[in-house]
Amino acid sequence: MHPAPSVIIFTTFSGLGFGLLAWLGFDASPAKGWAAFWWFLIAFGFACGGLISSTFHLGHPERALKAFTQWRTSWLSREGVCAVAALFVMGLYAAALIFFDTHIPHLGWIGALLSLGTVFTTSMIYAQLETIPRWNTPLTSLLYLSYAITGGALLSGRVTIALILLLITTAVQLLWWKQGDSAFADSGSTLGTATGLGDRGEVRSMAHPHTSPNYLMREFIHVIGRKHAQKLRIISLGLMAVLPVILLLLPFTHVFALLAVLSHIAGVATSRWLFFAEAEHTVGLYYGMR
């Protein structure tokens, strides 16, 4: 899949944002007033920034409201609904904290669940796609949720929890990669099944329909070398988990904490780049190039 910057920014930041919102919502003794303002500003900034960025790849962003209508079938629609609900609830919750110095725990829990729900719906947009076997697994939701919760913990300064979660997320990520690497082969789709000619012999693409590429090839076919991918995986894990863990284990300073957060974000973004770049769509079969 084409690793479009807008979707990478979207999934990275909205994940972190909603993860942070979830932690803020569950927090039994949250900050209030100005202190709360800053936390929520970061959380909303990430969540909304991500969402807004996701509209950049729309052909008709001005019609985006229509996307709320199909929540009964469409995960993308559900994501929209969920995100708005989460933002709304968390907005009320935050307003109460910031302006009225009031903590309404139930509202926080609902908001937190909606925030995690948003991350889940996002993950389902990808996990539902049978066309992309690497994504088409419940592990994708687990991956998105663990990233969100971990990032949220880190952002909200829960050092110990963050340390544990970073390890868990690393494990999930490794598991997801391992599963993903054989997913296409396991799915059973080949150029043979794609053309129905497989039982006659080896099928090979001899010529593309057009000599120039097209939308499909641009969108769905992104060939990334295995070596290159391995390197990026290591970098991603290093930035996402290893470096933050080291920084967090060092005596606490704000600089280290900030560095840990920045490193984590960069790691997440790299992982997301790989999430798309390594994903192979069945359309690629038709072009003999996945």
Binding site: R204, M206, A207, P209, H210, T211, S212
Partner: protein, 936 residues
Amino acid sequence: MNFKQPKINTSPPVSDEIRKTTCYMCACRCGINVHMKDGKVAYIEGNRDHPVNQGVLCAKGSAGIMQVNAPSRLKKPLKRVGPRGSGEFVEISWEEAMSTAVGWLTELHETAPHKLAFFTGRDQSQSFTSFWAQNFGTPNYAAHGGFCSVNMAAGGIYTMGGAFWEFGQPDWDHTKLFMLFGVAEDHDSNPIKMGIGKIKARGAKVIGVNPVRSGYNAVADEWVGITPGTDGLFILALVHELLKAGKIDLTYLAQYTNAPALIDPNTGLLLRDDDDKVLVIDSTTGKLTPFDQKDVRPNLAASFRKAGTSYTTVMAHMIEKYLDPQYAPEAVAERCGIPAQKIKTIAAELARVAFEEAFELDQEWTDFRGETHKTMTGRPVSMHAMRGISAHSNGFQTCRALHILQIILGTVEVPGGFRFKPPYPKPLEAHPTPHGHGRPGRALDGPHLGFPRGPEDLQIEDDGTPKRIDKAFSWEHPMSAHGMMHMVISNAYAQDPYKIDTLFMYMANMSWNSSMNSKGVMEMLSARDDDGKYRIPRIIYSDAYSSEMVAYADLILPDTTYLERHDCISLLDRPICEADGAADAIRWPVIEPDRDVRGFQSVLIELASRVGLKGFMKEDGTPKWKDYADYIVNHERKPGIGPLSGFRGENGDQTGRGDVNPNQMDAYIENGGFHVHHVPDEARYYKPWNKAYQEWAVDLGLYDAPQPYLFQLYSEPMRKFQRAAEGHGDRQPPEHLRERIRTTMDPLPIWYEPLEDGQIDTNEYPIHALTQRPMAMYHSWGSQNAWLRQLHGHNPLYLPTKLWQEHGFENGDWAKVSSAHGTITVPVEHQAALNENTVWTWNAIGKRKGAWALEDNAPETKKGFLLNHLIHELLPPKGDGLRWSNSDPITGQAAWFDLRVKIEKVDAPAEAQPAFPPIDSPVEKGPSKLAWKVGK
């Protein structure tokens, strides 16, 4: 679910109006319905009533809308201001353009008409352009047939009075075994596809003989991946097998061919009576009789002795020749790249289907001898072939061999076999002989092109020098029936046989894809003499688009596009007939040009009248016709016969023959742009010998009198040339050609190795290199078409598995490909379904930077390439100081597919090599995006 589906309008208006005309995105000439919205072309679809395409339309046809809006369309006459090849022009008025041309032409017409060389390319008005050239008086006229497929045309006409190509077609409704040789697309593009679809739907079998398995060959049930240039051998091996097994149609051979004719062993000519009729021995009486007498049963096995001379039949000669072990499947297998077993299987299958699946059509008919047959015997084997066999230097004989194969099976002009389309069949005798004696201020005595019957028809001076600039109809290529356009520039540059003044070309991209040795041709076109003057002093060219050739002309006469002009697809020329009907068609301006351009034929008419060519003037010295439309309707070739056969006579109710009908054009438009006249049922088959057909053809004006004839298995005209080479007669070939004529012009088909093979080291150049036409592109025109160029924007060289692995190629690699003549560096791709010693690419995709209103970085210019740079119009020198044309020695057919190359893997260059500097574009470049919709 209670989802409210959007209500959509499923009956939107399709268009304001449909205008029916004839497609010209290629020479197949299908009928089209042009849907108009707001006076603009909105959509083009096939015309269901049209005899050619019956509603279907190919990719090019549907993309016509992108052709008539192409930014590459020329806008105004142009005068060259920069050096030739630079592309620097200024726009001039038509008046200036015309008076310039008239000035040049008048002088030549009055002093030295032969100094005008007028050659046309993809034109479909040859009866008109040749009429023009005839009236001009120059011997130097031809269309592109010589480099296209004259072998096919001539091979057919000399053998059976018509060929494949557009002369005939398989009986798609009855055939059960269809064998296709060397065809990627052909002119009959849609009909062949429709036919293949038809027989596939019936489950009939298709055999594809082609080194490359794509297109038609991809759907062939059996693929024969033959080695290029060896079809003749393969075919003669089939003939060998069939003869040996007696699986031949004896009645057919005896009745309808010259197989029973008797050969005079002293002269090699056929025994004839005083009326010049071929004589046969009648089996019933045992007597010598003219072949066409009532009740005569010609005896194939007869022999006849007179005055100590023993005459034997053509059949006996054929048997003697083809039973020779050199034609045994085992003997040819390796050379052809086809296992002997497979050749035998094919022979057996041909015989089985022809004879065991024979059937009778319940249709009475009467033959030319007056005998009535209750039924028509069907032999459901049919064949078709095109440039794969004809574009070789042994192509003429190979085409003849293929006809022999069909004829011994008795499958020509019978149900289920191959059928002619009117005006064919047309025996050699009904075709003109060539004329070429130009005299100042006078018209030529007859048409330039024709079919020589013997040395007497050669167009040579008394000392043997060719009369024509292309040397057609000279000893070099005695039967070059279509001229040799590929030699014109080369000979004009060499001033051999003489110097010309003006080269006038039309619709031929000669500085690029339609020339061999394109780079050399560009140099020749822009070469200067010591005095700084161009060696070819003047070049006039008519094109509709900004092609590569435009840059090399001094004066450009911009043409209209096919939807903007009148045209005539005439029975006098290359009509649109189908086997069951004579048909012709028109084009008419369904839209008006939005530029200052003029239909070229109308321009020719104006030029002719201003120069004062006799045939174009009335007695009183005023022009006969004001434009081409006027000519189409009012010109009469013979009394009552004009360019269009339909709606003749004052009331428009006569067909074929009839007075001029001033409303004829409207009648055609009314009728959908065409006219068909159906062949009566009893005349549908056996046309060369069928009384009903012959009479129908005479009625229609195709012939002046019935002329039944015999198929010429043994070709006497060839024997006459051969005999001359043996030293007989007073017209003698020059010594250096004697042996070649003697061996190649065998009156019975033979196979010889392609000439290039004999002149290069085939160990050094072991690989055959070919081109194929992409179905969705017409030569160079498609690249300016926004839709089509997305299909074929560049062309890889396809390599078979063996070469792919041998050289360790991988996807994305490039190769240096060299021939004895040149080198190109091009991208390669792998194709497994390919003869293991053959590489190929699509034809004419590569473009020169600056042409066709494309950006300079268009893929056509960077990754696209021409194979033409590897092919020379001359064979490598033999060291005898002579120029040997890379052509069939008999017909002059350009031998495109004789090419041999070697291959080497190289690093990818920045762009395909050779690359040429961009030419200035005489038109603006196209827009950066397109969302074309003319309706609301």
